[in-house]
């Protein structure tokens, strides 16, 4: 198979060369000067028109088009950059505002707390003062009462004793002597209490 292909290729090449040589013996039409001037004439005309139209009409349009696109893209990029910067600025501002307001809120909170604490302290102090005063007055009353109560008890004891004696003995005893005895007893009991 391979041999066949190789032989075929060689045969092809051989035939090819043969044909080319045969053609060359027929001459190259390119070297026939019959239409040279006509070709040059038409070349100058067509290429000239092509060159002039391209230069004057078409290429400026394309270059304009490219230029406008370039500038437009550059402009767009510029605006995009500017807007980006602006938005960055806005974000910074916004963050600053948030930070400020946070600090303010904290301050408010602290102020309010201090105020309330102050209030509480003041009220507590006033309350404590009131309480102290009341306790003092009650204590005073109590001690007064206690002091007075001794005399009263003595008096009641003397009266009761007098009544009892009257009931028991059936005669009246001198009040003052009874009072003296009661007083003595009260003093004794008091002394006993003090000793204890």
């Amino acid at each position: 198979m391979l041999k066949k292909i190789i032989i075929l290729v060689f045969a092809t090449c051989f035939a090819c060369f043969n044909m080319v040589f045969a053609a060359e013996s027929g001459g190259m039409p390119q070297l026939n000067p019959e239409f040279w001037i006509s070709q040059v004439f038409w070349l100058i005309i067509t290429f000239g028109i092509l060159f002039i139209v391209l230069t004057k009409v078409i290429l400026p349009k394309i270059s304009d088009n490219l230029e406008t696109r370039k500038t437009q893209i550059l402009e767009n990029i510029e605006t995009a950059d500017r807007q980006k910067e602006e938005s960055q600025k806005k974000i910074d501002e916004y963050e600053k505002i948030i930070l400020d307001s946070k600090i303010k809120a904290k301050n408010y909170f602290n102020e309010a707390r201090e105020k309330i604490l102050d209030d509480i302290n003041k009220k507590r102090a006033a309350l404590e003062k009131n309480l102290d005063e009341e306790i003092n007055s009650v204590e005073n009353e109590l001690s007064e009462f206690r002091n007075k109560s001794g005399d009263k008890i003595n008096k009641i004891a003397a009266e009761t004793s007098a009544e009892l004696i009257k009931e028991l003995i059936g005669e009246e005893v001198n009040n003052s002597s009874i009072a003296a005895i009661v007083e003595d007893q009260a003093k004794l009991s008091k002394e006993r209490k003090d000793v204890i």
């Binding site: 292909i5 075929l8 290729v9 092809t12 035939a15 090819c16 044909m19 080319v20 045969a22 053609a23 060359e24 027929g26 001459g27 190259m28 039409p29 390119q30 070297l31 026939n32 019959e34 239409f35 040279w36 001037i37 006509s38 070709q39 040059v40 004439f41 038409w42 070349l43 100058i44 067509t46 290429f47 028109i49 092509l50 060159f51 139209v53 391209l54 230069t55 009409v57 078409i58 290429l59 349009k61 394309i62 270059s63 304009d64 088009n65 490219l66 406008t68 696109r69 437009q72």
Partner: protein, 244 residues
């Protein structure tokens, strides 16, 4: 006659014979394809340049890509000084490219496969570049033939070689394009002829060759147009920025 692979390069008159004095300037098939190529370029690029949208459509993209492609090619090889010659190089590149590409259509005529056409283009470029060089640098342009850093002993030889290479520029430029186009089309014609002569049994191999060659030729058609334009840029660069 049609099996002759050189037959496709024949130039024949279309329509009446036109004579300017004693000179024959009749409209031929070569002229027809020059007109077709130019018209195609003008139509495509005019449509591409017409709309001015921010996001280009297909034709607009094509024309703008071609524009930037050629502009980049010029600025890369010849620098910013070559900007005034942009439209000429653009026209040249497009003309050669479209002529090459139209030649790839079966039964079409390839304008650039004729030495006279490529030679006229190359000679025009050569003369233009030489004039630009002398206008920019005066007689200093002749320094182009004296490379710096060459020993004095070798200088006469080098100058002669440089002058010969400079003078052979139009020939090499024109023959390169013409020979490439002619050889490619001849090869395709030859292989196409084999498909017929070898018949249904053996014709497949030359047919596949022909298919492959068509792809190659399209590549060559583009490449030769590119080479033609870029060599023009290089010559222009020599004339604008004297490097030696």
């Amino acid at each position: 006659m049609a099996s002759n692979p050189m037959y496709q390069f024949n130039v024949y008159r279309i329509g009446p014979e036109i004579k300017l004095g004693s000179v024959d300037i009749s409209f031929t098939n070569a002229s027809l394809f020059m007109v077709i190529s130019s018209l195609a370029i003008l139509i495509i690029f005019n449509l591409g340049a017409k709309k001015k949208t921010l996001i280009p459509d297909k034709l607009q993209l094509l024309s703008e890509l071609s524009y930037t492609f050629v502009a980049k090619m010029i600025s890369d090889t010849a620098g910013s000084k070559a900007k005034p010659y942009f439209s000429f190089i653009f026209s040249l590149f497009m003309f050669v490219l479209f002529c090459n590409m139209f030649g790839m259509i079966p039964y079409a005529f390839t304008v650039t496969s004729h030495i006279i056409v490529t030679f006229v283009l190359a000679a025009f470029i050569f003369i233009g570049v030489t004039i630009i060089g002398f206008m920019k640098h005066g007689l200093g342009y002749l320094k182009l033939f004296v490379p710096s850093g060459v020993p004095m002993v070798l200088l006469p030889l080098i100058v002669v070689i440089e002058i010969i290479s400079y003078l052979s520029r139009p020939i090499s430029l024109s023959v390169r394009l013409f020979a490439n186009m002619m050889a490619g089309h001849t090869m395709m014609k030859v292989f196409g002829g084999f498909v017929i002569s070898l018949g249904i049994v053996g014709g497949w191999l030359p047919l596949s060759f022909s298919v492959a060659l068509t792809g190659l030729e399209i590549l060559v058609a583009f490449l030769q147009a590119y080479v033609f334009a870029i060599l023009t840029c290089i010559y222009l660069n020599d004339a604008l920025n004297l490097h030696h």
